[in-house]
């Protein structure tokens, strides 16, 4: 498997029915593409459902941040069921409660508030990535 020892695995929700699912993905992409590309990698939840060996190995060996869109918490449950031992469970609703003016709308395409909420959530995830990387997470 590829990846650095200080890498954090990010697992967003796979839901396609509500805007909170889209916010979870947008936040995950913001972290792995923009904020912490060298210290965070994304794993698709569907690979864990399938029991993909590489995906299971990654969540077992690295700290994991799950970002769930609803109370069913599929990402957190799947990560733990797949052998993840160090899991930080985040939920979009908690970030929304801290930013109640950022009400997300739209699923295929989030509104501006949804994108801002995703950005706020991504900052929270990036802070966790930095913790896991021992302060080395912030990419230049």
């Amino acid at each position: 498997m590829s990846g650095t020892c200080r890498e954090t695995v990010i697992i967003p929700c796979s839901g396609i029915g509500k805007p909170f699912g889209s916010v979870s993905r947008e936040a995950a992409y913001e972290v792995v593409d923009m904020l912490r590309p060298a210290h965070a990698r994304l794993i698709a939840l569907s690979r864990l459902v399938l029991g993909d060996d590489d995906a299971r190995d990654a969540v077992a060996r690295h700290p994991v941040v799950t970002i769930d869109g609803c109370k069913l918490a599929c990402a957190a449950k799947m990560a733990k069921a797949s052998g993840a031992r160090r899991v930080r469970e985040l939920a979009v609703i908690d970030t929304f409660r801290r930013h109640p003016k950022l009400k997300p709308e739209g699923i295929a395409e989030l509104n501006d508030a949804g994108r801002q909420l995703a950005r706020a959530l991504a900052e929270e995830v990036a802070a966790i990535v930095d913790e896991q990387a021992g302060g080395e997470g912030r990419d230049a």
């Binding site: 839901g15 698709a44 569907s46 690979r47 069913l72 918490a73 799947m78």
Partner: protein, 151 residues
């Protein structure tokens, strides 16, 4: 005469967040669910087969399903078959796009032109399969039990 429950087809997208084809599966499923066949289709997010309850795992036993996968791993088709029931039909975006002569699909956050065309091709193929399943005499009937859906 009593009104019978409407038959519906379940759509299960892999949603594969790691690849652009996964984005195609989500957007194609949404196009079918919201625009092309809103009265004939329902969905569930794939992980609910494991994270949800028995009602979620019964999804593919209640509805004939069309799975939409981004790549040859076929997580949606395999996962649906393993945890619920075999899908009635399945689509793999990478294969469909290649068959349509579409260029490399890129941009998991914002699809390129090939990706947008793949969304439309995938949605249209899904609609064809949905219509075939609804016409088929042996299609499983909607029983009136609605599994809960994730976000």
């Amino acid at each position: 005469m009593p009104e019978l429950p409407r038959r519906k087809v379940g759509i299960v997208a892999c949603s594969g967040e790691e690849i652009a084809e996964g984005t195609v599966t989500r957007l194609a499923a949404l196009r079918v669910l919201h625009e092309l066949r809103p009265d004939d289709t329902v969905t569930i997010c794939l992980p609910l087969f494991l994270a949800g309850g028995e009602g979620d795992r019964a999804f593919a036993r209640v509805y004939p399903t069309v799975t939409i996968d981004g790549c040859e791993k076929r997580c949606a088709a395999e996962g649906t078959a393993t945890y619920s029931a075999p899908p009635a039909a399945s689509i793999v975006v990478s294969e469909l796009a290649a068959g349509c002569g579409l260029g490399p699909i890129e941009g998991r956050r914002q699809l390129n032109e090939a990706g947008r065309l793949a969304v439309e091709a995938t949605a249209q193929r899904t609609v064809e399969l949905v219509d075939e399943l609804l016409k088929a005499p042996r299609a499983r009937r909607f029983t009136g039990t609605l599994p809960s859906a994730g976000p």
